[in-house]
Symmetry: C2
Subunit: 227 residues, 2 copies
């Protein structure tokens, strides 16, 4: 049980007006202080990076030990994967009121997983060019229409990974050779039952789940889908 006063911060959504009501509560004799908008002006002081050292290296991965001094004086050594600087792209292809998903073997889970086509952005490529290339390699389609829905990170305590989510429409048949060891079976999923995908045990990767919800919001906003 804490006895000291706890400070809570309330961040106001960008598109809201500053009228959040502050309701002091007394639970267990402790006063909770809600400070509307406080965080908008408060700057967190980043720890200082004192040293970065590669401590393990494989063909694909380099692990770095990062020596950190926090603003309160605490010192820690954190490990992370060396940032590559290369972003990735995940494509949500829509055809005939269906999403196109692929099935790919994932050795991390030792199972076939259902998800959207994806891949790294090659040097010199825009996210849309990469999206179109990966779509051709992994699904056998190009897209005349591409739109970015957002950018997602993954476990940023360890990784710098950034994944651009791109919806692809107005598709045409075009296959490029990728580096996949076997053809990727496709699943076409009806837009009018999108969330049923969440019941599929092989569809549970966080970026895929986020992309599913993001495309749903996008379709609803356009009046092409209702909740």
């Amino acid at each position: 049980m804490i006895r000291a006063m706890i400070g809570f911060l309330m961040r106001l959504p960008h598109n809201s007006v500053n009228t959040v009501s502050v309701q002091p509560r007394a639970d267990d004799g402790v006063y909770l202080r809600l400070i509307p908008g406080a965080l908008m002006t408060r700057q967190l002081q980043k720890p200082e990076i004192l040293n970065v050292e590669a401590v393990a290296r494989s063909r694909l991965f380099t692990v770095e030990a990062v020596d950190l001094a926090f603003s309160n004086g605490a010192r820690r050594v954190y490990e992370r994967m060396r940032p590559s600087g290369r972003e990735a792209v995940m494509i949500v292809p829509i055809i005939d009121n269906h999403l196109i998903l692929i099935q790919e073997y994932a050795v991390g889970l030792e199972s076939y997983e259902l998800g959207f086509p994806k891949g790294l952005i090659d040097p010199g490529e825009t996210p849309f060019e990469a999206a179109n290339r990966e779509l051709k390699e992994e699904a056998g389609f190009g897209a005349h229409q591409l739109e970015q829905l957002g950018k997602l990170t993954m476990a940023p305590s360890y990784f710098s990974s950034q994944m651009n989510i791109v919806v692809a429409e107005d598709l045409y048949l075009e296959k490029l050779e990728g580096d996949e060891p076997e053809p990727l079976p496709q699943v076409h999923w009806p837009l009018d039952n999108l969330l049923a995908l969440l019941d599929e045990p092989d569809f549970r990767e966080a970026r895929n789940v986020s992309a599913l919800f993001l495309v749903r919001e996008w379709l609803v906003k356009q009046g092409r889908l209702s909740y």
Copy 2:
């Protein structure tokens, strides 16, 4: 342009009846074959794991090279992080019609990120016990009511990570000491404007984004929130 016939698979949602209409299309002279329900019975044959070898090791990470023989005869060596067998838990705490989020330094991105409390499940703990402990350590609350919303993976081509998403309500003040180097500032976000969180540049981690959408669905289903 492909000239061969492409086989597409259409998976039926578990809760739908088998009435998906099949619409053969002719684009660019190529016939697309939609096979309703085909995937429900089709078994993908997993590649055989011929060898697993640790190729790099740091304090936290062990990289493995996995020698694979795919069912079509293709051979590949994939790298992955050694599976730890330990699952994690992410807690979505609700208090006074607000979500509780924390701000934590993420050395992968070298920035403070906004997200839900989370942590590994200790040996012997249930996901709910771990959720309650992490909530006490990272946010200074315990919860009388916990409910699991789902389980998410992350980049399963490389990781075996499994994150249980748990909503926590009926909170009471209780602080446990965690191993954080500095206190974690909190942000309380109003339930009636949940999706505005997606406009915050420091809220973009895929498991957090998924958890936000999952808790929204859960609240809507209960009639506590409308879209």
